[in-house]
């Protein structure tokens, strides 16, 4: 399944290289790639990794603990087929760890690139609103 991009491990501030692999694998199913970028290509991991050191720091301990619990529940997750991964995640939809990761993945995907995700405004282009978004002055569409 998806591996983290080459050279990325060196840039991580919060996640270990191992943790990052797991987070990305789950993010890959939360917002998969199709004819448009998904969570991985859009840099949702980078968003979360950065924000866990600042605005989202109160989620740091829940992530450390949550990843461990997830690894114990589904030790073969990284090797599973996509369909089996989806089935596994559907079973734990109500899990606070998964719900938290869904929310943060969505933030990273749909928020401004200034926060670390939504690389190249991928989600805004997908929605056809890139001319309307951006963090600064309004220049007209």
């Amino acid at each position: 399944m998806a591996a983290i991009a080459p050279g990325l491990a060196a840039e991580l501030n919060f996640f270990s290289a191992e943790e990052a692999k797991w987070i990305e694998a789950i993010m890959n199913q939360i917002i998969p790639a199709d004819d448009r970028p998904g969570a991985i290509e859009a840099g949702c991991l980078q968003y979360l990794d950065r924000q866990l050191g600042s605005a989202l720091q109160r989620f740091a301990a829940p992530y450390r603990a949550g990843i461990k619990v997830f690894q114990q529940k589904e030790p073969n997750f990284l090797e599973m087929s996509s369909e089996r991964q989806i089935a596994s995640l559907q079973k734990m939809e109500r899990d606070p760890f998964f719900e938290m990761l869904v929310d943060h993945t969505m933030q990273g995907f749909y928020g401004s690139p200034e926060h670390g995700g939504n690389r190249n405004e991928a989600s805004w282009k997908m929605m056809g609103i890139e001319k309307y978004m951006g963090g600064g002055h309004w220049h007209g569409a």
Binding site: G38, A55, D103, M133, G135, G136
Partner: protein, 551 residues
């Protein structure tokens, strides 16, 4: 060394406090206007959805910060849990010069005449504190007019057949309709409704030296980059300061209202920017810190003569907390209805504010401000729809520009038990005891919410929606950015915290100028009503004789 005594201290440079500062300073009074937040430029906050006044997942763009200002709330299991300012349950109001008016959507509503007479109209439902205001719409009308002209509101008099009697028209014509409004207008009329352009505290043409709205897609939740939004930060507050005797002191935290041996206000005690505790003496004190923070300050100002806090002899301060129970629907269309033209909320109807069979009150209905992408992803989906995965992503692509929402602020039936009070344990960064919040909605609100949502759905269908989904309120206590009621007006001192002039009972020279004083909260965004009251209260203060005539 303590600063020199002044005529009046105002606590809170927001929607109400800014107006009182102008009115008193222009009358020659020496004013100190305190604000716990800062002045903020557009460049500091920009257009970042995740850090705006509407979506605060990365913190409150306009304060307060999470580190120094925690509160406590009661959760569904009855447990008291800590809550941070960037979490919804905190019931935040922006901590910035201009307060909520710096980043609000700026709908500028007059309450309807019946909104001031809810008990006379509906009786008092069991388990509620529903009551009439001690003043009428007609009493407040001249001050609504003053607010509309002094701040800058654009709208069309006579377009809403339900509104109370007006004197003058609005100073500016309404902003133009967008595509959504152009679809909803004939659809509403077909249903026998009376849709009209929403009055907004937003310039539709240049006004008082500020430019007109540039119709950008980032309105509600963001500071206006051209200051077409008629915030108190760009209207009354600069004018107050320009008199030369109104001093704005930012990043100051007022700890208590000080009272003298007779129990009358003599000033405030506050922490300055460096954290030093300072006394500011004044002849009059006006508290305008928002319904939650005003209640907190009054309750934290206990003395021997006011053992339960100021204005709280009969246990009304902090109680009667209300906001609005938002309800409505969204519809899916066969064509694009989104045109990216701001502020986007352009059309409303008051057909369901009153006169709804078997329903207490009701709500105004209006189309929505432009929805930002993350909020849309998380909150606009049919019930049971996937909340993640490919289907969720496909839905975002397919429906973002082909969906439209109609929502309304249900006028709540207030409850005694819905309250803020001082938490026995938690203190803020400055050691000041903080608030705990508790309560739940009156069951009437849930019923009204469902009823109004069906009306929203009908309107969307008439406009061509292929499918509609209701979004009805939950059970939790309200407050939020429409917070009100916690120091309610009453003619009888046993039945409220302030008198009909918004003067705190038991303290002749202490007034309140924010939503705390509302008895009920209308079926509308409350800002213009807060502001009209602030003009009226200022007039009362000037006539009070606390300070000799200066000009």
């Amino acid at each position: 060394m303590a600063p020199d005594p002044v005529d009046v201290v105002i606590v809170g440079a927001g929607g109400g406090g800014g107006i009182v500062a102008q009115e008193l300073a222009q009358a020659g009074w020496r004013v100190v206007l305190f604000e716990r937040g800062k002045q903020q430029t557009f460049a500091e906050t920009g257009h970042y959805e995740l850090r705006s006044q509407r979506t605060t997942v990365l913190g409150n763009a306009f304060g307060p910060d999470d580190v120094r200002h925690a509160r406590v709330r009661q959760n569904e299991r009855g447990e008291w849990v800590k809550v941070l300012p960037s979490e919804g349950a905190y019931n935040n109001i922006a901590a910035v010069v201009g307060g909520g008016t710096l980043s609000y959507g700026a709908m500028a509503w007059r309450y309807l005449p019946k909104d001031f007479r809810m008990r006379s109209t509906y009786g008092s439902p069991a388990g509620s504190t529903l009551e009439d205001w001690p003043i009428s719409y007609e009493d407040l009308a001249p001050y609504y007019e003053k607010a509309e002209w002094d701040l800058g509101v654009s709208g069309k008099a006579g377009s809403n057949p339900f509104e109370g009697r007006r004197g003058k028209d609005y100073p500016m014509p309404p902003l133009p309709f967008n595509r959504e409004a152009s679809l909803l207008a004939p659809a509403g009329r077909k249903l026998g409704m009376h849709p009209f352009p929403i009055p907004m505290a937003i310039n539709s043409k240049p006004y008082q030296g500020r430019g007109a709205c540039i119709q950008c897609p980032h309105c509600v939740g963001f500071r206006c980059e051209v200051d077409a939004k008629s915030s108190t930060a760009v209207t009354v507050i600069p004018r107050a300061i320009a008199t030369g005797h109104c001093e704005l002191r930012t990043e100051c935290i007022v700890k208590t209202v000080l009272t003298d041996a007779k129990g009358q206000a003599r000033g405030v005690e506050y922490f300055d920017r460096e954290g030093k505790l300072v006394e500011q003496v004044s002849k009059v004190v006006v508290v305008a810190a928002s319904a939650t923070e005003t209640a907190r300050l009054l309750l934290n100002s206990k003395t021997k003569l006011h053992p339960n806090g100021l204005g709280n002899r009969y246990d009304w301060v902090g109680r009667n907390l209300q906001g609005h129970a938002y309800t409505g629907a969204f519809g899916l269309f066969g064509e694009e209805v989104w045109d990216g033209v701001g502020p986007a909320a352009r059309i409303a109807a008051c057909d369901f504010n009153h006169g709804n069979e078997g329903i207490v009150g009701g709500a105004m209905l209006a189309n929505e401000f432009i929805r930002m992408p993350y909020l849309f992803a998380r909150s606009v989906r049919p019930p049971g729809a996937p909340r993640w995965g490919k289907a969720h992503k496909d839905w975002q692509r397919a429906w973002y520009k082909r969906s439209m929402g109609v929502k309304g602020p249900v006028q709540e039936v207030p409850r005694w038990e819905n309250r803020v009070e001082i938490d026995p344990l938690l203190k803020d960064h400055w050691g000041i005891p903080t608030l705990r919040i508790s309560g739940r909605k009156h069951e009437s609100d849930l019923r009204t919410g469902k009823y109004i949502a069906t009306k929203a759905a009908e309107w969307l269908r008439a406009a061509g929606a292929l499918e509609v989904f209701l979004t009805t309120p939950g059970n939790g206590v309200s407050g939020g950015q429409h917070q009100a009621g916690t120091a309610r007006m009453a003619k009888d001192s046993k039945l409220g915290a302030v008198d009909p002039d918004c003067r705190v009972y038991g303290v002749e020279n202490l007034y309140v100028a924010d939503g705390s004083v509302h008895v009920t909260n209308g079926g509308f965004n409350p800002s213009l009503t807060i502001q009209a009251l602030a003009y009226r209260t200022s007039e009362r203060i000037l006539k009070s004789g606390h300070v000799p005539r200066r000009l």
